[in-house]
Point group: C2
Chain length 194, copies 2
């Protein structure tokens, strides 16, 4: 946070051509990294939002039914799918809330403490999202393939539409995991540049 540059946004580009601060800071490069960070956050938010909506709105009722059985599959039949929806919603909410601070980083590219806080929260959110995506993926795998050793039969033959939707909803979540890794990388790189 030492020696903040007092230049306005219009003058900053010119100033950085002529001088780099004594900390070796290249303002232009720092700003470019901050803009990249903002774009990645928007993409990750869209990915998690899409995943949680796709999973949360999925249900399939089979056209026949017996007396006591209800042939209807929904996301809240399995706790791992509920966890998936909750984890994706939390991460999406966090990413949307982090956008203003990310925009602040574009303007003030020398902020150090807020970047460290970003790295910590991003890491926690990455763990949460990876756990949710992986828990749901292992159930999706079981639903497709079943397991002969545990005598768990695949359910995708009956609920094919349901299975397609839940398989598809994993894509956005794992995509966001990769983007969150990139976001943490950009934060670390910009911290090292300051």
């Amino acid at each position: 946070m030492s020696s903040p540059m007092k230049t306005g946004p219009l003058e900053a580009g010119e100033a950085s051509k002529n001088e780099t601060s004594k900390h070796g800071l290249n303002t232009n490069r720092g700003r470019a990294i901050s803009i990249l960070d903002l774009i990645l956050r928007v993409f990750a938010a869209i990915g998690t939002l899409g995943s949680s909506v796709a999973m949360g709105t999925t249900n399939q009722t089979l056209p026949f039914s017996f007396q006591s059985f209800q042939f209807r599959a929904e996301y809240n039949d399995l706790p791992m799918f509920m966890f998936f929806v909750i984890a994706n919603s939390i991460v999406c909410g966090y990413l949307v809330l982090s956008l203003p601070l990310s925009i602040f980083h574009i303007i003030r590219s020398e902020a150090k403490i807020s970047r460290v806080i970003f790295i910590i929260f991003d890491t926690v959110m990455l763990s949460l999202l990876a756990c949710g995506a992986s828990a749901a993926a292992s159930i999706v795998y079981l639903a497709h393939k079943g397991n002969a050793n545990a005598n768990w039969l695949p359910i995708c033959q009956q609920f094919s539409n349901f299975c397609q939707r839940i398989s598809g909803s994993l894509i956005g979540s794992f995509f966001s995991v990769i983007i969150l890794i990139l976001i943490i990388t950009t934060s670390a790189v910009s911290l090292s540049q300051i």
Copy 2:
């Protein structure tokens, strides 16, 4: 990497009392964070090693058997448990290999680029470990509780010893996930101090 301190390990503590470098670096604090990083890495490596060994060596054979059925439970019956063992082994290997660089950071507490590389690799390993632990945890949950909607029956009534071991092996893995988050935090904090 600018202005490396040329003091030996004995003189360094004294030097940092009298002067901080022009980057606001407090060498003593940087060294303390690096030592904390090393200790955390050792703990995380032990946690992942314990998890993969506990999961990998588990098997239970029931004392009775029928003609075509083999009542034997092993970790490689389920692909998620194999993934768990592989993920834990990879992370454990990475953590052991990262120890020399972590020791190097204690001696040269101003190294920037290697810390950024550490953050990137730690983040990838954190994702891998969280995915493995979560995939195994969701199967352990199913083994304990089963799921009535998908008609998957719990198997822990038969394989109680097997279930206890695999449940226990999750602890080390989730413990290591938390420690990896702390390691990334320490790396970010020490990057901001330089």
